[in-house]
Amino acid sequence: MFLHIVHRTLALVLTLLLASIAVFLFMAVLPGDPARVALGVNATPEAIAALRAEFGTDRPLLVQYLDWVGGLVTGDFGVSYVTRAPIGPQIADRLLVTLWLVGSAMVVAVVVAVPLGILAAVRHRRLSGILLSGLSQVGVAIPNFLAGILLVALFAVRWRLLPSGGWVPPAVDPLGFLQRLILPALALGLVQGAVLTRYVRSAILDVLREDYLRTARAKGLTLSGALRRHGLRNAAIPVVTVLALQLTTLLIGAVVIERVFVIPGLGSLLLDGVANRDLLLVQGVVMVLVLAVLLVNFVVDVLYTVLDPRIGRAVA
């Protein structure tokens, strides 16, 4: 098992490295000189050269890359060419906001999906089960920004129960924070909940068909007891895997939701950066997102090894 984890860690580092190269090269293709753009049309060649030296964009690509990656490892994301502000702190602030959003959306998704998925599986031949399954199918088809807009239309515009957007840190105004968190978390989480429901249902259905569930019932467990004690554990494995993939989808989905609800998170930072052609900023944010995606996948892989005794252990 240990060997397996080491192996996965190496793979993680390798992929991260390759990704950083890919991102860097990609942004390097961007036409235009940041120094020239920053100084405007009337800039003198000397001023441009001086600024280029300051930015470091006059150095060979390889050096720039190594410098950048080296900085990343220590947490130094550099200074933006456009805003001249250090990028690292911006990312940190925004990341926290996005994490709040993604975290609460994940909670919503799980709270919705687990009971509904189990119900849909246990009653899959009855009408209620079929309806649930159909409902989840419809839910999957709704883009999260549509859900967001509809929620705003209902709760903010029509009924005026909640604000339609904006953000307030929890320390400053806990109630305001919660109020502003609910709708985006629901928008992001309900749709993912529908996706997760289908996976939970499928996992439970698989377990229901398994022989060991029959043995459990033959031992004297009721159907629900057998499911609880044996089924859920076994069903948890594929569900946890999916949960991880969901996390990455949520992260990316947050980009759009932040736009809908005007939330100052990592996603909107990315979008602003792209709009401003602030390429160093975009590079930084993309790397953070990529790191998050890879890290989540890595953790799930390791979790899998821990949860399932069949993987990585010697057979007697």
Binding site: L146, I149, A153, T248, V282
Partner: protein
Amino acid sequence: MSVSDRVESALGAVARAPTRRAWNPSLVVGGVLVAVVVGAALVSFLWTPYDPTRIDPAARLAGPSTDHLLGTDKFGRDVFSQLLVGARTTIVVGVVAVGVAALLGTPLGILAGMGPRWVGQLVMRLNDLLLAFPALLLAIMFAAVFGPGTLTAMVAIGIATIPAFARLARSGTLQVMSTEYVLAARAAGRSRLAIGLRHVLPNIASLVIVQSSVSFAIAVLAEAALSFLGFGTRPPTPSWGRMLQESQELLHEAPRLAVCSGLAIAIAVLGFNLLGDGLRDRLDPRLEEHR
């Protein structure tokens, strides 16, 4: 055959169609929805009630009427026409994205499954790298570098979808390669290429078809999100995602705008998802694990 298999076949013989379900609800409903969307796109080439880009300030935000089936937007453009032409974008993006992903990903996967071990490892590393960039993220990056537009979006989404096909093709190929008839063919000295064409391709074809439908749905969602953010199809070409974004500020006065465009997106996604499920049932009910 175990008891449960026998009972299943007894149940199946009665409760469902004689052999595998030829026509199941998912397939039918999905097929209909997809046909509606494709139909809308095709119809739009021949005729639309109005030019969807035609601005008519006098008829701003008109409600549904005999003139304008679904009303007009804030520029007076006919919503129904916009939806029809928007369907074109949706279908084209889906076709190109899935096409790119399938045409590049499937051979990669087959190669990984059939070739020497180092090739398989290489392909898996490449997959890992691509998987680090979800479709929307990649598309935003592409838009940043190459400028927003339908083409950039399609290519980016396609590239991000390659891992799904590669993985699928690889696992399918591995399965086929370990079957007895392939082992026999190899023992008889047939070349890998021959085995690939004769055995592998037909067997993974159904997997690829199902995945195509599912990936199509994902591509539609991604394009809608992109257009919503402003990185997708550029104005004045109609796009459902952008229509939805434009409707946001008008939720007060004309919520139907959001509903129309949102419903269009949802119908397309639902249709392709259901179609994928239905095809999966039809082609092989045991394909459940390949999501």
